[in-house]
């Protein structure tokens, strides 16, 4: 943490700081010199060099070493206020001071270089790991539908004589499903790369939240017939000023997740509320919930629940978190009684109760 700040101090400033610190310490030493012998003061100066070596670059440290040696000689070693050294003993001490200060500077610098390299290596290893996870889940997630499409079209082209009409319809339905899945994965990837790029700005505009929710639910229900989604929104909820595209993506991913991972016939409910300037959306289901110990990880990129069925890249919830935070909001997951999961989204947004202008 300290290093992080120090590294941001520019080179010329490092020289300036070194000189200032040396001057300050020297002044203190000068005041102390009436009470303490000059040899102990030498050690205090040496300590200063070591401390500076821990945070600054090599050249400012070498400057500090030379400067403190000269100051020690001039102000403290008798006869004081000359560069002349009185005794052989002091001469040896001064030389040793100089050498030790240099060694100190160089060694500390080297240690820091090694540390830096180790850190870079670790970062690189992490990137490679992330990249591999991405490639693995991607090649699976993209190749499965591609294989279906290739296999089905092969069959239709080369084996058509042996296929019954029903077979043919089924193959075509599989191609259609696979393409839909591919398209969804590409959408996910585009969303992730948008978030990864780091400069997504929400495009805020007035949004009728109930319209948005009904539209998303309609899309989910068109592709999923296992569950019915219940919607409860207070009809007096205001308009919110937020990024509708992001909000749609958030709601879609959460509902889609619930629809895919809860058993057939489960209840899924979406609620929208307004607290002062906070828009709150709650999505609840009575499925199996999440293992408690994994709740903290589910929003991580590529994270998939242990033993989760195949399919899915582990991107959906990370996109939910990314977009929510991009709008300055928060997302929370908890299990509920007796069973099921609840996602709570809070997004701060301007509101408008313009709905009262009925007679215009």
């Amino acid at each position: 943490m300290v290093n992080f700040f120090i590294n941001r101090i520019s080179k010329p400033r490092q020289y300036l700081f070194s000189v200032l610190i040396v001057c300050a310490i020297s002044a203190i030493c000068f005041w102390l010199s009436t009470y303490i012998g000059y040899r102990v003061l030498g050690f205090i100066l040496l300590l200063t060099v070591s401390m500076i070596a821990m945070v600054f670059d090599i050249l400012p440290v070498l400057l500090t070493a030379v400067l403190t040696a000269l100051i020690w000689d001039y102000f403290f070693i008798p006869p004081t206020f000359t560069f002349f050294v009185g005794t052989t003993e002091d001469m040896i001490m001064l030389l040793m001071y100089f050498v030790i200060a240099m060694i100190n500077a160089v060694l500390t610098y080297k240690i820091r270089q090694v540390e830096k390299m180790a850190r870079q290596k670790e970062e690189k290893a992490n990137t490679v790991k992330l990249y591999n996870t991405l490639l693995n889940s991607l090649s699976h997630e993209l190749r499965t539908p591609i294989s279906t499409i290739i296999g089905a079209t092969d069959n239709l082209q080369n084996n058509s004589a042996k296929l019954t009409l029903q077979n043919r319809h089924e193959l075509i339905a599989e191609i259609s499903k696979a393409s839909f899945r591919l398209n969804q994965q590409v959408d996910n990837l585009l969303n992730v790369s948008r978030l990864e790029s780091g400069f997504i700005q929400p495009k805020n505009d007035w949004c009728d939240i109930s319209e948005t929710i009904y539209d998303v639910v309609k899309i989910i229900e068109e592709n999923n017939t296992h569950q019915k989604i219940r919607i409860s929104i207070n009809p007096d909820i205001p308009l919110f000023k937020l990024d509708k595209g992001m909000l749609e993506q958030i709601i879609y991913n959460l509902l889609n997740n619930a629809a895919q991972y809860t058993p057939e016939g489960s209840r899924i409910e979406i609620m929208a509320m307004c607290y002062a300037d906070i828009m709150q959306i709650i999505i609840e289901d009575n499925g199996n919930g999440f293992p408690e110990e994994e709740i903290k990880n589910v929003f991580d990129k590529f994270y998939r629940l242990k033993g989760a069925k195949t399919g899915g890249t582990g991107l959906g919830l990370s996109i939910v978190k990314g977009y929510t935070e991009a709008m300055g909001g928060t997302v929370r997951l908890e299990n509920i009684n007796p069973k099921g999961a609840r996602f709570t989204i809070n997004i701060p947004a301007k509101t408008s109760y313009l709905k009262n202008l009925k007679n215009e």
């Binding site: 393409s179 398209n183 959408d187 585009l190 505009d205 007035w206 949004c207 009728d208 109930s210 319209e211 009904y214 539209d215 309609k218 919607i231 308009l239 509708k244 595209g245 749609e248 408008s352 313009l354 709905k355 202008l357 009925k358 007679n359 215009e360």
Partner: protein
């Protein structure tokens, strides 16, 4: 009626093939161009009844092709665009495109849009009484009936609705609606539009939460869709 002629300008051979098969099997005559230049020449030599224009062409930006076309070409233009480019779509609609489709699209949807665009282009005079399902709109007497009962609309609501029915099947952008109904100073006051669309839906839709007449085109605008 003669077969309508459609010009497809798209650089992707696969998309052109797909459109050719889909359109020809639905009794349209299809002409194809892979570049903007080729497309402009074909359109100028023999103006088609409708143009399907891809925005991502190799030799020229689709928007500038659209602008050049609109200097003289008055028949419908339908835009094809890739996903996540709402700004592109809005600017194309503002530059005179009649409709848009986002790739990947359903061919059924494409055919519906083509039919709707051609129909609108052919009816010069709007008929005074428009009937959609159980909704009846009389533009001459400015009355609206739902299930044979008179619906009371405010002046603004009626203005919105009349814009929709006169442009049936066509996407109307937020800016267009705000400018037409409230005036040029209001094009950024989208909260008015949200409120009045919601009110209008309550009065004319069977289920205002699952609208079938005034359909939302996310991030772009609204479309008045008459059931076919």
């Amino acid at each position: 009626m003669n077969k309508a002629e459609i010009l497809v300008i798209d650089d992707e051979a696969q998309i052109r093939k797909l459109l050719e098969i889909t359109l020809e099997s639905n009794d349209y005559i299809v002409k194809q161009a892979a570049t903007a230049k080729e497309g402009m020449i074909l359109a100028a030599n023999h103006p088609p009844d409708l143009i399907i224009l891809d925005l991502g062409l190799p030799d020229e930006n689709g928007h500038s092709v659209l602008k050049k076309l609109r200097e003289w070409y008055t028949n419908p233009v339908i835009i094809l665009s890739v996903q996540s480019s709402e700004e592109d779509i809005i600017s194309a609609l503002d530059n005179g495109a009649n409709d848009y489709l986002v790739k990947p699209f359903r061919t059924g949807e494409l055919l519906a849009r083509i039919r709707s665009a051609l129909r609108t282009a052919n009816t010069e005079e709007t008929t005074p009484v428009i009937i959609c399902d159980d909704l009846e709109i009389d533009l001459a007497s400015r009355t609206v009936k739902k299930k044979n009962e008179l619906v009371k609309l405010t002046a603004t609501e009626y203005h919105l609705l009349s814009l929709f029915v006169k442009n049936e099947g066509k996407v109307l952008t937020h800016h267009y609606l705000l400018r037409e109904v409230w005036g040029p100073g209001f094009i950024n006051q989208s909260q008015y539009l949200r409120v009045f669309i919601a009110q209008l839906r309550k009065k004319i839709e069977n289920d205002p939460n699952r609208p079938e007449l005034i359909v939302t085109e996310s991030g772009v605008g609204y479309r008045f869709a008459r059931k076919e």
